[in-house]
Symmetry: C2
Subunit: 433 residues, 2 copies
Amino acid sequence: MTTNPTIDPNDPALRSWVPGANDPAGDFPIQNLPYGIVEGAVAVRIGERVLPLGEALRAGLFSEELASEEFLAESLDAPFLNLVAELPRSVRALLRSELAGLFAEGSSARARVEPLLRDAADAVAELPFAIGDYTDFYASLHHATNVGSMFRPTNPLLPNWKHVPIGYHGRASSIVVSGTPVVRPCGQTVASDDGPPSFGPSKLLDYELEVGFFVGEGNELGSRIDVREAWRHIFGFCLVNDWSARDVQKWEYQPLGPFLAKNFATTVSAWVVTAEALEPFLVAGPMRGPDDPQTLPYLADPDGRNVDITLEVFISSARMRAEGIAPTLISRGSFKDMFWTPAQMLAHHASNGCNMAAGDLLASGTVSGPEKESRGCLLERTWRGTEPLTLGDGAERRFLQDGDEVLIKGFCEREGRPRIGFGSCSGVVLPAR
Amino acid sequence: MTTNPTIDPNDPALRSWVPGANDPAGDFPIQNLPYGIVEGAVAVRIGERVLPLGEALRAGLFSEELASEEFLAESLDAPFLNLVAELPRSVRALLRSELAGLFAEGSSARARVEPLLRDAADAVAELPFAIGDYTDFYASLHHATNVGSMFRPTNPLLPNWKHVPIGYHGRASSIVVSGTPVVRPCGQTVASDDGPPSFGPSKLLDYELEVGFFVGEGNELGSRIDVREAWRHIFGFCLVNDWSARDVQKWEYQPLGPFLAKNFATTVSAWVVTAEALEPFLVAGPMRGPDDPQTLPYLADPDGRNVDITLEVFISSARMRAEGIAPTLISRGSFKDMFWTPAQMLAHHASNGCNMAAGDLLASGTVSGPEKESRGCLLERTWRGTEPLTLGDGAERRFLQDGDEVLIKGFCEREGRPRIGFGSCSGVVLPAR
C-alpha cells in the first residue's frame, strides 16, 4: 500500500486512532512520533502503543519510494538509532510523514498496522543510541551563576562564560536508559579544603536536570558546522540526568574538570523526540542583555532559537513508593531559559574541526531558571544543603538518599497544539557496594 | 600443523628468520610481536614484515587448541583489535607463544608463513581500536609542577594532586593513527586575561608526549577493578600525541577543563605493544618522597610498577624534510618517571563503578622528567616560548608552525635483552582552514 506522503505530522488538527494518542495530558500524540529501541530494533511510540518499524517495512506499510531507500531496512532493524540518524533528512521526513499517515484517524492502513502494535506498558525501551562521544555543556546562566557564587563568591561568573559555550567531555560507556538503577559511587572526599582525603561512599549525591540532543548528520575531522546550519544536524532530543557526587567533585575537579564525580552514571530518556516535532515550540533566544558581550560571528545565529520545554523534577523515597505517596515536585523550569542554544553548542563543538558523528550526545548542562523553584539540581535547590526540602512523607532532603527515585519529565505546550512529551527519565539510587 | 605452545616469546635468546627482526636497533624483534590493523584486519608486526592473522589461521598455522577457540576467527578478521582484546588472557598468551614459534629461527613453518607476509614498508597500519572512551590523565609530577608554576606561580601543585590521579575525558572521535595530518585548529583566544576574545587559527599549537594503554578485560557498571589486578586488565600500550592549542586552552579551560584546545586531534601509534611484551621492562614505582602523603588503600599496589620506556620527540620543518635534514631531537625522557602507574590510573578510573571496556584508551598525560631536556611539550620545553629551540635548519621554534612534523619514538632497553620499540607516532601540521 502507499500511504499519503503529503501529510504534515505537525498539523495540530491531526488525530489518531491509536489508544491514548489523543489524550490531552499524554506525551505521545501523532504530532510527536519519537523513536526508540524495543526488542533490539527501531520502534516509534504513539499514545499507549509502540510500532516496530522493521516489521512495518516488511508488512509493506511504507510507500515504494520510501521502502526502496538504500539502507532503510538495515537502519530499522539495527539495535540502535545511529543508522536512522544517518539517513538523509528528506528520507526521515518521508518516514515521519508516512507514519503519521498510518496512524491518522480514518487511515485505511489501520487493520494492517494494528496487529503489529505492542502495548507500551509491556515494551521495555532500551538505550536509544550507541553513543560514540558524549559532551556536557554548562549553558544555563542561572546555573553557572548560582554554582559560581557558592564556590567563588567574589567571582561567580568567569570572564569567558558569556563568550564561550563552556563544555567538557563526559563518559559515554556509563550512559544508561531511564529505569536503570544507579549505584551510589565511592570516591575521595575531604573534610577540609586541603585534605587529607578518605575513600568511601559519596555523601552528597545529586542529580542534574538536563536536556540532551543527538547528532544526525556529522562533519569530517578538520571541517566545521555552520551555526546557521547546526539545527539541521540535530536528530532529536531527550531528557538527561547527569548524576553528580558533589563531595567527590569538589576535591577532584581542579584543574581539569569533573571526572569520577560524574562518570559513574548518566541517565537518558528512552524516546528520542525529533527536532522536527519540536519545531512548533521554538522560541526566540538566547536572552542577551544590553551589557552582555557581542556574540562572535561563528556563534551568531540570526535564527537563534531555544526550545520551550517545560521540565519537572520529582523525588520519591522508597518509603513513599511503598506507601503509595505521590512523588514530590522539586523543581519546574524551562529549557527556553538557556543562554546558549543547541545550535550554538553544536557549532562551537565543531568550530575547531572536531568531528561529530550520528549518535553523539550533547547535553545542555543543568537547566536552572531565575526562580528558586526552577533550579535544576539539589546543590542549587537546597543551596548546598542549607535549605532542605520536605518530601511527601515528611522527610527532609539535602542530597539524595539510598532508595530515592529521581524522576524527570519534560513536555512542550502551546495554545492550539497537542502537547508533545518526552516520557520520563528516572533512576533509583542503590546503596554503595 | 601444531606449533610449539611452550615457547616463551620473552626469552631474550630467541632469534627470528624474518628480515629485520634481529636488528639490534630495530623496534620489532620476536620478543615484541605488537598487534595492529592492516588491510582492514588484525595483523602482527615482526622486523620488516607484517603477518595478517586471519590468513594465518585459515592457512592452518595455529594449533588445534588455539584454532578451536571460540571467537578467534571473527576476532582476527575484525577491522579493529577490540575483539582480540576481549579474548581471555590465556588465549592471547597462547596466540603470542605460537606466533613466536612460527617466527623463531629454525621453525618448520617458515615455508608456509613466508608467502603470507607483507612488507611493512607497503602495509599501511590503520587505527588499531574502535575506541569507545578516551581518558587523559595528568600523572607526571614534573609536568604538573612545571605547568602549575606557569599558571599559578604561588600554588603550582594543587592539594589534591598527590592523592588523586587527576584525569579527564577526552574526545574519542578525533583520535587518528600515526601519519594522519593534523589541521591547525581555530578557536577563541584573548590578548588579555579577561578578553574580549577573537576567533581564528591557534597561534600556540603544541604537542604533548604521552603513553597510552588500551583496556583488555573491562568491568561491569557499578563494579570496580582492584589495583592489584589492574595490570592484567591492560591489553597493550601505544605512543600518544595529545595535540594542544595553548592559547585556546588558556581562555576556555576554567572551570570545566580543556575542551576544544585538545579535541581537534589526538595521534596514536599504529602498533599496540602488549603488556606481556613489556613485562621485562617493569621497574619499581612510583617515586614517593618521605613528605609525600600515604597512598589511599584502593590505590596502593604492593607490586606498583612503572614501565621503563625511553621516549623521544623530534621536530622537522617542511624545509628540513625537503632538504633532507634529519629531524631535530627536542626531548628525551622515560615513562618510568611517572608519579602514578598505569595500574593506579585504571583502578582509580573504575573506583566509582565507571565501566571500562576493551578498547578504551587511557593516556598518561604529558611525560616530563626532572631535566629540561626531558620535558614533554613545547610549553614546558621552551618555557611558554621564552626559551626558543633551534631546529636543524637554524630556524627557531617556540610553538609549532604549519608544515612541522612531530615525531615521537618510544623503546625499551635493558642489558641482555633485545630492544622493544613502539615504531613511531607522527603527524604533520596543516594550515588552518
